[in-house]
């Protein structure tokens, strides 16, 4: 398998992108910002297609669009939890813009450029060149390090914003900083699994880790491990079964892991509620 250069590139980029997604995804779930992550993924799609329509590097459009929107969401959302209805209205329009750029791009270029749109929507990890893969890996490593560097205040701010705020933690700065990092992760993951599927790589490992352990640090590590397992498993599966697209295989494994975690959590909570004395208040167990 590793005799092929495209597989080596896919593993190089995929490994670090998955770790970054797992780390960011845990915070996304912890902060109940899954819907905002979804919005960012659609912004990534529109940004990439705008760049394609304008004839510049897709990555430029990806990073500019996601970071700009992340800054906007972080700065405008003055409450702890941005309103889903507002996010929904905005990104329905962003998707409409994406449809516009798609039609400009497809009609502007002669021939079968529809593949570019498919690449943006559903990823093309097997099509990465060695340079692309190295670039993606370096950025993913930097983002993962940055996430780990702010992990402590971020966890504090996510778990107990009131106490964190009263102790002088700059909640808004932490929130905006996290959104920007999330934007970079989204732009990165778009190249690997595509704009439409990256939510799976954010939400599924993070959600599974949250269901499996109550300890935040263990959860963070577990989320990264689960994302990595999904990525490696997906790449191997799609190599063995040729007709299986890699992005689908990755998301399918991540979803299966989440389903397993949810099942386990339900079985355990069933046992717990059958016990005569409740061991712990649920609110405390969450911390």
């Amino acid at each position: 398998m590793f005799a092929h250069e495209f597989m080596r590139n896919a593993f190089l980029a995929g490994t670090f992108v998955a770790v970054a997604c797992g780390l960011a995804g845990y915070f996304v779930v912890l902060r109940s910002q899954v819907f905002a992550g979804d919005a960012l993924s659609h912004v990534a799609f529109t940004g990439a297609l705008a760049a394609a329509a304008a004839g510049v590097d897709i990555r430029l459009g990806l990073f500019v669009a996601t970071i700009a929107v992340a800054l906007g969401m972080g700065l405008l959302g003055d409450r702890a939890r941005p309103d889903d209805v507002v996010i929904g209205s905005v990104f329905a329009w962003v998707l409409g813009l994406g449809a516009l750029f798609l039609s400009i791009f497809v009609s502007g270029s002669s021939g079968s450029n529809g593949t570019a749109a498919v690449r943006v929507l559903f990823g093309s990890i097997l099509g990465l060149s060695a340079v692309d893969a190295r670039f993606a890996a370096v950025i993913a490593i930097l983002v993962a390090l940055a996430l780990l560097a702010i992990a402590r205040p971020l966890l504090f701010a996510s778990l107990d914003p009131d106490v964190a705020g009263s102790l002088g933690l700059p909640l808004r700065a932490v929130g905006v900083g996290f959104f920007v990092l999330l934007a970079v992760v989204a732009a990165e993951a778009t190249q690997a699994v595509g704009a439409l599927l990256l939510l799976g790589l954010l939400a599924a490992p993070g959600g599974a880790a949250r269901l499996l352990t109550d300890s935040p640090w263990r959860g963070l590590a577990l989320s990264a491990v689960l994302a990595l397992a999904s990525m490696w498993g997906g790449l191997v599966l799609s190599y063995e079964i040729v007709s299986l697209p890699p992005s689908f295989a990755v998301i399918a494994i991540a979803s299966a892991l989440f389903a397993f975690a949810a099942l386990r959590a339900r079985l355990r909570s069933g046992n717990r509620s059958a016990a005569p004395v409740p061991l712990m208040n649920r609110g405390e167990a969450d911390l």
Partner: protein, 299 residues
């Protein structure tokens, strides 16, 4: 007349433009289908926004895509795929949101995972089907060119059925949506209502997805309703306004798309978002004005 020879010529003369618009049967059928869909989306979307189930609605709309792609792969009618997938999706979502006990964050993670998995499945179906990329684009972003008279007929019956069910459960649903705890205490079956509503939402999404595409359904469901709820909190006028706005953006969007080279999804989403923004800014300006009145002045 030049309108009979030119397909995409806008003469800026209302009567002849309207004649040009309704000259071809496909366009008449698109307008009819758009009308039915807008009424459905306007009413059901209003409840969706009220119940703050925007994310669930988005996920359901995304699930329409694998349904359509799977139906194409299996050689079944597209409508069957849309309605089947959205029905199954509604059942899955209602189980997910009921069974999760560890709070909001896990629930949204579950909804997000369901959505991403659905999209991945759709992509698998499309790639197994073998590179029909133009159909992929229209599944995701919609087309109004291929709507047949038979489809309009089916849509009409579905729309009537959905509105009838909504009229039946509307009152208790409103009660349960506004104050779930009190409604439950008063004996309203909130869980059954939640399931029924998700199924209705799935029905609306499946019907809408045929025209706007899986990714843009959401625009017609959420934006007119969100605009209406900014203006009034009262159910009657709110529902009417939501339907009126949905109708307006659908008709205008279809009309503009007919005369322009750009897709209908873009026009519908842009018009509805523009309306939303204008209303929001107007309301903010009004509130400022009201606020800056001197103390003691009549309100």
């Amino acid at each position: 007349m030049s309108t009979t020879t030119e397909l995409a010529g806008l003469s800026w003369h209302p009567v002849s433009d309207f004649e040009a618009l309704t000259e071809f049967p496909f366009m008449v059928q698109a307008l009819q289908a758009g009308t039915i869909v807008a009424v459905m989306a306007g009413t059901i979307g209003w409840f969706m926004v009220l119940r703050r189930q925007v994310f669930a609605g988005h996920t359901l709309s995304v699930i329409a895509f694998p349904g359509a792609a799977g139906a194409t792969l299996a050689g079944l009618p597209l409508a069957l795929g849309y309605f089947g997938a959205c029905g199954v999706g509604a059942l899955v979502l209602s189980r997910v949101s009921r069974s999760e006990e560890s709070g909001l964050s896990s629930e949204s993670a579950a909804i997000g995972t369901v959505g991403a998995f659905g999209l991945g499945l759709g992509f698998l179906f499309v790639s197994l089907y073998g590179g029909q990329l133009t159909s992929l684009e229209s599944l995701l972003f919609g087309t109004f060119l291929g709507i047949t008279a038979a489809q309009v007929q089916t849509l009409l019956w579905i729309g009537l059925a959905a509105l009838a069910i909504l009229a039946l459960i509307g009152r208790p649903l409103l009660f349960a949506s506004v104050d779930g705890a009190v409604a439950r205490a008063a004996g309203v079956p909130a869980e059954a209502l939640a399931l029924a509503f998700l199924l209705l939402l799935g029905l609306a999404v499946a019907a809408t997805a045929e025209i706007t595409g899986a990714l843009l359904v959401f625009a017609l469901l959420v934006t007119p309703a969100a605009t209406a709820q900014q203006v009034t909190a009262r159910p009657g006028p709110g529902l009417a306004l939501s339907v009126a706005l949905a109708l307006a953006v659908t008709w205008l969007g279809l009309g503009i798309a007919y005369f322009s080279p750009y897709p209908v999804g873009f026009w519908v989403t842009s018009l509805s978002f523009g309306l939303y923004l204008v209303v929001r800014l107007l309301l903010i300006a009004l509130a400022r004005l009201h606020h800056s009145q001197p103390l003691g002045a009549p309100a």
